[in-house]
C-alpha cells in the first residue's frame, strides 16, 4: 500500500467514524423541544438579566496571549522530535523562532498586559 493509500484509508475511517457517531445520536435521541427546555439552565431558576453583557477587555487580551504562547510551545515539541541530531542548524532555527516570540512577550510586558486588575 502506497503512502497515499494509507492516507485515504485514514481519512475514510475518520469520516465514517464521525458520520456514524452523528447518525447514532440523530437516530437514538428522541427530540422533544419544549419552551422551558430551550431556556438556559440557571440552577433551576428563570434566567435573570441579559447574558450578552460588556465585560472587561482584559479577558480578551489574556485569551490572545494564551493563544500566542501556547502555539509557540506546540511548534517546539515536533521540532525537537524531528531534529534529534542536535546540529547547529536546529539551534539556529529554534533561537530565531523563540526570539520573535520573546519580542512579543517584552512588548506585552511593557504594556502591562499581564497585570489582571480585579
Amino acid at each position: 500500500m502506497s503512502d497515499t493509500g494509507i492516507l485515504i484509508i485514514f481519512i475514510a475511517v475518520v469520516f465514517l467514524f464521525v458520520a456514524g457517531m452523528w447518525l447514532f445520536t440523530f437516530l437514538f435521541g428522541p427530540k422533544n423541544r419544549t419552551r422551558i427546555k430551550s431556556q438556559p439552565f440557571e440552577c433551576g431558576m428563570e434566567p435573570i438579566g441579559p447574558n450578552r453583557v460588556r465585560f472587561s477587555v482584559q479577558y480578551y487580551v489574556y485569551a490572545i496571549m494564551l493563544v500566542i504562547f501556547d502555539i509557540e510551545v506546540v511548534f517546539l515539541v515536533p521540532l525537537a522530535l524531528i531534529f534529534r541530531d542536535n546540529s547547529v542548524l536546529v539551534y539556529a532555527v529554534i533561537s530565531i523562532f523563540l526570539l520573535t516570540a520573546l519580542f512579543g512577550y517584552i512588548y506585552v510586558y511593557k504594556r502591562r498586559g499581564f497585570e489582571f486588575e480585579e
Partner: protein, 394 residues
C-alpha cells in the same frame, strides 16, 4: 488597562438552589463586574420544613426525631442540646454515666461533622481524594453510632432524663480501636491539603471576616475562633462533664478560609483526645433517672405491673407534663452555639420550641465575606462556613 474598564456592565449571576457547591438549598443572587463580586443577596428557606410548627403539634418526647434532622451531619448534638434544655426546664439531674456517654457521642458527632465539612469543601475545590478519605473516616464513626443506636444518620437515641439503652458489650473498646484509624485519615488529609500550594492559594486570604464583624453578626463556633477569639461554650459555660476533661481550643489568627480549615482539623484531634479521656474514666451505674414522671418505666415493669402499664400509657398519650416556664440553653454544636429556647405552659406539648441555629447567623455574614472577592472565592468561603440546610432553614 484601567481606562478600558469604565463601560463594563454588571451581570447578575444566579448561584441557585440546585448547584453542586450550594448543598442544594441556598440561592445566591450575585452581581458581578467582570469577576469581582459587587453584591451578593443570600436567599435561604429552600429546606424550611416547619420544625417549630411540628414541635408545637407533638409532645415533648416526640420531638427528638425532628431534632435529629436539624443539623443532620451531627444529629446527636441536637438531641443532647434539646434534651439538656428540657431537663433544665424541668429541673432534673441526669446520672453520671449518662453525662459521660452524652459527651462521648457529642465528640464522635463533632468529628463526623468536621470530616463532612472538609470533604465537601475540598471536593468543591477539586480534591476528590480527600472526599473519599473523609467518607471512609466518617463511615467508621457511623458504624459505632449505628451499633449503639440502630441508625446511621437519624439515631434519636437520647431521652429526656437519660438514654434509650445502655452501651452494648465491648462498645468502648471498639470505639477506642477506630480512633487510630481516624487519626490516620486526618493525617492523610493533612498531608494532602495543608501544604498544597493550590489549596493554600485558594483558601489563604479569601473569605476574610474581622473580629468586630464576626461578633456583631453573631458568628459562633469554628468560624468565630478562626478570627482569633478564644470562645467555646464547653469552656466558657461548661455543661455535662466538660469541666473535668482537659482539651484546648484551637484559635486562628486572620479569619480566612485557611484558618477555618486549620481550626476544624485541630478540633478533630482535640475531640479524639476527649474521647480517650471519656472512655478511660467512664463510670458504671444506671443511665436514666428513675423518676418515671418524666421517663418511660423499664420494660419489665410495664409488662408485669398494672402501675407500669398505666404510667407508660399516660406518658405516651399525654406527654411529659413539663412545669410552666421558659428556658434558653445553649450547647457548643459543631458549627457553633446551638440554643434551644423552650416555653411551656405546663401541658404535654411545648408552646414554643425555638432553635437558635449557628448556620443561620453564619449565613448572615456570607455577604460581608464574599463581596470584594472574586467569583471563584465564593465556593471555598461557602464550603468553610459549613452551612447545613436543615439547621439553617429549620
Amino acid at each position: 488597562m484601567s481606562d478600558l474598564n469604565e463601560r463594563v456592565q454588571e451581570i447578575t449571576v444566579n448561584m441557585g438552589p440546585s448547584h453542586p457547591a450550594m448543598h442544594g438549598t441556598i440561592r445566591l443572587l450575585i452581581t458581578l463586574v467582570g469577576e469581582k463580586v459587587v453584591r451578593c443577596d443570600t436567599q435561604i428557606g429552600y429546606l424550611h420544613r416547619a420544625f417549630e410548627k411540628m414541635s408545637e403539634a407533638n409532645k415533648w418526647q416526640a420531638i427528638f426525631p425532628y431534632t435529629d434532622r436539624l443539623n443532620y451531619v451531627s444529629p446527636l448534638m441536637n438531641n443532647v442540646g434539646y434534651a439538656q434544655a428540657v431537663e433544665k426546664l424541668i429541673g432534673i439531674d441526669i446520672p453520671e454515666r449518662t453525662k459521660y456517654i452524652r459527651v462521648l457521642l457529642c465528640e464522635l458527632s463533632r468529628i463526623a461533622d468536621h470530616l463532612t465539612c472538609i470533604a465537601a469543601a475540598s471536593m468543591e475545590l477539586g480534591a476528590f481524594t480527600v472526599f473519599l478519605y473523609c467518607m471512609e473516616g466518617r463511615d467508621l464513626i457511623w458504624d459505632r453510632i449505628e451499633e449503639l443506636t440502630g441508625a446511621r444518620v437519624t439515631p434519636a437515641y437520647i431521652r429526656i432524663g437519660g438514654l434509650a439503652r445502655d452501651l452494648p458489650e465491648g462498645f468502648l473498646d471498639r470505639t477506642l480501636s477506630i480512633l487510630p484509624r481516624i487519626e490516620k485519615v486526618i493525617g492523610d488529609v493533612d498531608a494532602l491539603l495543608t501544604e498544597n500550594p493550590i489549596f493554600i492559594e485558594r483558601m489563604r486570604g479569601t473569605g476574610v471576616i474581622s473580629q468586630a464583624d464576626a461578633i456583631e453578626i453573631g458568628f459562633t463556633g469554628p468560624c468565630l475562633r478562626s478570627t482569633g477569639i478564644k470562645h467555646d461554650l464547653r469552656k466558657k459555660s461548661p455543661y455535662l462533664v466538660y469541666d473535668r476533661l482537659e482539651f484546648d481550643i484551637p484559635v486562628g489568627s486572620n479569619g480566612d478560609n485557611y484558618d477555618r480549615y486549620m481550626v476544624r482539623m485541630e478540633e478533630m484531634r482535640q475531640s479524639i483526645r476527649i474521647i480517650r479521656q471519656v472512655v478511660r474514666d467512664m463510670p458504671g451505674g444506671k443511665i436514666s433517672i428513675d423518676n418515671t414522671m418524666y421517663i418511660l418505666p423499664p420494660k419489665e415493669v410495664v409488662y408485669n405491673t398494672i402501675e407500669g402499664v398505666v404510667n407508660h400509657f399516660k406518658l405516651i398519650i399525654d406527654g411529659i407534663q413539663v412545669p410552666a416556664g421558659e428556658v434558653y440553653d445553649a450547647t457548643e454544636a459543631a458549627n457553633g452555639e446551638l440554643g434551644f429556647y423552650l416555653v411551656s405552659d405546663g401541658g404535654g406539648k411545648p408552646v414554643k420550641c425555638r432553635v437558635r441555629s449557628p448556620s443561620f447567623a453564619l449565613m448572615q455574614g456570607l455577604e460581608k465575606m464574599v463581596v470584594g472577592g472574586s467569583l471563584a472565592d465564593i465556593i471555598p468561603t461557602f464550603g468553610s462556613i459549613n452551612m447545613i440546610g436543615g439547621e439553617c432553614d429549620r
